[in-house]
């Protein structure tokens, strides 16, 4: 049997390797380090329809990720979806006439929120609401609109 010293060293190496592996999984593989945490501020936005938007979806300005969707809930008074966004504190100069739109990444990709900054000199303060919003495009609605307009155009054409 090995001496106590050797065993202690080997066990220490083993535990260290395990912890390093866990650390690697947390930092390099998962979004653990990408969490915004405390240095972020909330904004809300109301949408008629959020489509397939999910919590933790990204929030972008000009295509750059500036935050994520924290929560989505339904407001029974106005029948709207209230989306809470968490924006990184580095981007605290978003104008208060900013437009929030729900985009789809690619044809079948996930949905995210894009912010189009307006020209107002006043920035949005933490907890304020993004007033101007545009709902998600629902593919079925678009197809039915297209089909109906096509059908009307077809009947008048004959």
């Amino acid at each position: 049997m090995q001496s106590n010293r050797t065993i202690e060293v080997m066990v220490g190496t083993f535990i260290l390797a395990g912890l390093v592996a866990l650390f690697f999984l947390a930092i390099r593989v998962s979004n653990f380090s990408g969490e915004l945490g405390s240095d972020s501020y909330p904004l809300t936005a109301r949408f008629d329809n959020v489509g397939g938007l999910t919590e933790r979806a990204k929030v972008t300005i000009a295509g750059v990720r500036v935050g994520r969707v924290e929560s989505i809930r339904f407001d029974p008074a106005t029948f709207e979806a209230v989306v809470t966004l968490r924006i990184d504190n580095r981007y605290n100069q978003i104008p208060d006439d900013t437009f929030a739109k729900i985009y789809t990444a690619g044809l079948l990709g996930e949905q995210y929120i894009g912010l189009d900054p307006g020209g107002s000199p006043f920035p949005l303060k933490p907890g304020e609401e993004v007033v101007y919003t545009q709902s998600a495009l629902v593919l079925e609605d678009m197809i039915s609109q297209f089909l109906f307009s096509k059908a009307e155009g077809g009947s008048s054409g004959f």
Binding site: I7, F14, L19, F24, N31
Partner: protein
């Protein structure tokens, strides 16, 4: 007909009795924990023989499983021009499923069987009775350190397996097959969630560590004290642990990701 019923009944009663004996081991081993804390060297020795000696096979298996995942994932994803998602596929399947499960299966084969054989032989050669004669509780002295060692080693081994698997997938995907290095890592970071994926994987491996070590210790401690009995017990450890791990994995996956 009646004999068959009697056989079925005897089998059922035996199963319940074995389960009871196994459950009774748990509080007995837990009671030995305080005594164990005063002699950490006992625990270290067992972590050495259970964890450190299993490390190499787990590491090698992790790299190769990751490489195979990278290869197969690449062939399928390339058909949809989605090679960028290779990192997500490799990492998600490793962290959620393959890491904990394959590590547990290897653990049952490498460490569990050794535990059962060791304790079974101690019983067959009356070393356990010898300890009792010297007023040393064999459960405290022999089972408790082994139980904690297995319980603590499994999550570490599973983490090593997953991490090396991700590296293996990276080697095949990025170095050999030319997937973009940046998208391999960034897609992974975007899609793999720390608490949903990684912590759930760790919880799985903790559960598997508990179950595998428990089965191995029970089989050894209650083995028939002959060479044939110890052999049977060792076989049962591996078969039972593997089946329980696979069944529990299904259950845990349904609970966690359902």
């Amino acid at each position: 007909m009646v004999t068959m019923l009697a056989q079925l009944g005897r089998w059922g009663l035996n199963a319940v009795q074995r389960l009871g004996l196994a459950v009774l081991l748990l509080p007995a081993m837990a009671a030995g924990t305080v005594a164990l804390l005063r002699r950490p060297m006992l625990l270290l020795r067992q972590i050495f023989s259970i964890g450190v000696l299993t490390f190499s096979i787990v590491a090698v298996a992790g790299v190769f499983v990751g490489m195979v995942l990278g290869l197969q994932g690449y062939y399928i994803l390339a058909q949809f021009a989605a090679e960028e998602a290779l990192g997500v596929m490799v990492a998600a399947s490793l962290v959620r499923e393959l890491g904990p499960v394959v590590t547990a299966l290897l653990f049952a084969g490498r460490a569990g069987s050794a535990l059962t054989a060791e304790i079974g032989l101690m019983k067959a050669t009356e070393q356990l009775s010898g300890l009792e004669m010297m007023a040393v509780n064999p459960i405290y002295r022999v089972l408790t350190p082994r139980f904690w060692a297995g319980f603590l080693s499994m999550p570490l081994l599973a983490a090593v397996f997953s991490a090396l698997g991700v590296m293996g997938g990276w080697f095949v995907g990025v170095v050999l097959l030319g997937v973009d290095d940046g998208s391999y890592w960034t897609q992974m970071v975007l899609k793999i969630d720390f608490s949903d994926d990684i912590l759930n994987g760790v919880i799985k491996s903790v559960v598997f560590g508990f179950v595998c070590t428990w089965i191995a210790l029970y089989q050894g401690y209650h083995a028939i004290p002959t060479s044939a009995g110890v052999g049977q017990a060792t076989t049962r450890t591996v078969v039972l642990s593997s089946l329980v791990v696979l069944g529990l994995d299904f259950l845990l996956t349904a609970l966690m990701f359902g």
